[in-house]
Structures are given as C-alpha cells and as structure tokens.
C-alpha cells in the first residue's frame, strides 16, 4: 500500500505521524473523528476526502476503536509498521495517561460530596449522549431497509441488554445470519 499515491502531499515521516495523531487525540474532546478529518484531509492533505471516507469505512468494518484503526492504516500507508506504531502510540499515549490520573483522583476524592454529585450529573449526561449515538446510528438503517434491519437490532438488544447473554456469543450467532440476509437482499435487488 505504500506505493499508493496520496493527495499529492509529501509522505509523512514516523515523527510527523506521531505528532499529528498526538494533536488529534488531545483536541478531540467529545469525539475525535471530526477533528481527525479536518487534520488529515484539510490541514495536512495526507488523504483526499474520498480516501478518508473509504479508509473510515474499512476501519468501521473491522473490530476495534475506529480512530485507532485509522491511525494504523494511515501510518502503514506512509511508512509501514513503524508508521503504524508511531501514529497509534501518538493517538493513545497521552489520553491513557490523562485518564489514569483522573482515575487516581476519583479513587482519592470520589467519595467527597461535591465530586460525587458532579459525577452523578456527568454520568447521567454521558449515558444520554450514548442514547443519542444509538438513535443516530439506528435512524438510517430503519429508514433504508426497516424490515431487514429492525429484527436484528431488536434481537441483538434483547439478547445483550435484557437477557444479559455474553456479547461475543451473540455476535457469533447473529452476525453471520445478518450478513447472509444482507447478501440475499442485495442480490435480489441487483
């Protein structure tokens, strides 16, 4: 993949990858993806808009945190495994340290009335944000192919949220069924 032409910008070095993803991580309050796009496509021009969309869809098809996967792919294209390591460590390193420090503060001061009350509010709000994420993800599917998507959404939800079955097992059973359904649906439309 390293021989693939990018947006005409010079191929980034491992150090440039590290610094860029470091910046993306620390700027990405409330979601890193929009900032990643602005940096990689508009500011650095390492990827064309089409490249970015296509790379993102690859990263979303694969398991794992999308933005971490993206750092791996962008790094690998620029300079092989060294690029992947530089980009992903740049992305993950600082946030992990910050969050560990926050965890220490939580265990030290989490029982204090004021901190406890602040965290009650934060927790309630954070869970609301995930409700919105779920709704935003569900909407296009339910609009596009409701009778195909809704049963799988409902069964996955019932199995994991209500029955509390282990998620990997649910995925191993439902995943292939849903992929087969999508396969036949696409073939019948073609």
């Amino acid at each position: 993949m390293t021989d693939r032409p990018t947006a005409g910008a010079p191929t980034p070095t491992a150090w440039a990858l590290f610094v860029t993803f470091f910046t993306i991580a620390l700027s990405g309050f409330g979601g890193t993806l929009p900032f990643a796009r602005r940096t990689l496509v508009e500011r650095k021009a390492w990827l064309t808009p089409e490249d970015f969309t296509e790379t993102l869809s690859l990263c979303q098809t694969l398991p794992g945190p999308n933005i971490v996967n993206m750092s791996i792919v962008v790094g690998a294209r620029a300079c092989g495994w060294r690029g992947s390591v530089a980009a992903s460590v740049g992305l993950v390193g600082a946030p992990v340290i910050i969050v560990i420090v926050l965890g220490m503060l939580y265990s030290r001061f989490g029982a204090l009335g004021m901190v406890r009350h602040a965290l009650l509010g934060l927790g309630a709000s954070a869970s609301g944000l995930i409700v919105a994420t779920a709704a935003r993800m569900a909407e296009p599917l339910l609009r596009g192919r409701p009778w195909l998507a809704a049963p799988f959404i409902l069964v996955a939800f019932a199995a994991v949220a209500i029955l509390r079955l282990p998620l990997p097992y649910v995925l191993v059973v439902l995943g292939p069924l849903s992929i087969a359904a999508a396969w036949f649906w696409k073939r019948n439309r073609a």
Binding site: G30, G123, I130
Partner: protein, 177 residues
Amino acid sequence: MKTSDTLVALAVQFTALSLVAFGGANAVIPEMHRQAVDVNHWMTNQDFAALFAIAQAAPGPNFLVTTLIGWKAAGLAGALVATAAMCGPSCLLTFWVARAWDRYRETAWRSAIGAGLAPVTVGFVCSSAFVLVRAADTGWKLAIVTAASAGVAYFTKLNPLWCLLAAGILGVLGLLA
C-alpha cells in the same frame, strides 16, 4: 482474587472484546459492564457509571473506559494490560487487512459484511445505552438530565462536552441528588 489472576482475566476479556468490537468500544459496553460488575465484582454499578463519565469527559478516543476498568480492577498494571488488550489485537488485524484492502474494495461480499454487521452493532449500542442509563439514573432528576442530553446531542450539532459540563455544574450545585 490475586492481582496476577485479575491481570490475566483482564487480558483475556479485553482481547476477546477487541476482536468483536465492531462499531468501536461503545458496542461492547454491556459486556464490559457484565464482566466488571456482575461476574468479577471489580466495581459497583455507580462506579461503572462514574468511570464511563470520566472517560467521556476526558480528551481522546472513546475506548478509554477500558483503561479505567483495568485501573479500578488492578491498579496501574491493570490499566496498561486492559488498554493493550483492547487495542492490540484489533490493531494487528487492521494492519494485516489494510494491506489486502485494495484488492477487495468493490467486492459484493465485503459490502454484505458491512451491511450485515450494521444492525447487530446498532442493537449492541442500544444495549450500551440501556445499561448506562440504568447505572446512572438513580433518581428522576438524573433521568431528566439524561433525556435532555440525549435530545441536545440528537437534534443539535452542539459539542457534547457542553452537555457534560452543564450536568457536572448542576451536580456540584447539589441540584441532582
């Protein structure tokens, strides 16, 4: 449980989650919750809600709740083991697949995989929302905060950090207890 046992449990659990986390970390929250609260008793429901909130409020990718679960279960070593286990396997897979990607870009089976996994992933993210709301909302005032945040995030383009900030301030003022 001995610390070394806990570290092994963290490594095994998050390695498995790494490879099934289609749609990112938000999709596997229910399984993290099941393991950390129900199975291994590393923390209470309230702890889980608080740690998730801290991870959301911190800068960076949203899988950081993994780091905090590891940290709560087994200290610094736990945090590092959980983080490495959550990122490592999927990173290796991505690195390997990215090289073959161009060859399969337009194939029908690849788009079928994407289209097929999407509804299951959405079902998982809905489960995450359900688990988190139940852990966080211990009173009606908190339920209102959840509903308001969800509404703002769904209907506007406002940075979600403002919701967290406002809710934190309401909490500090003692209006939510």
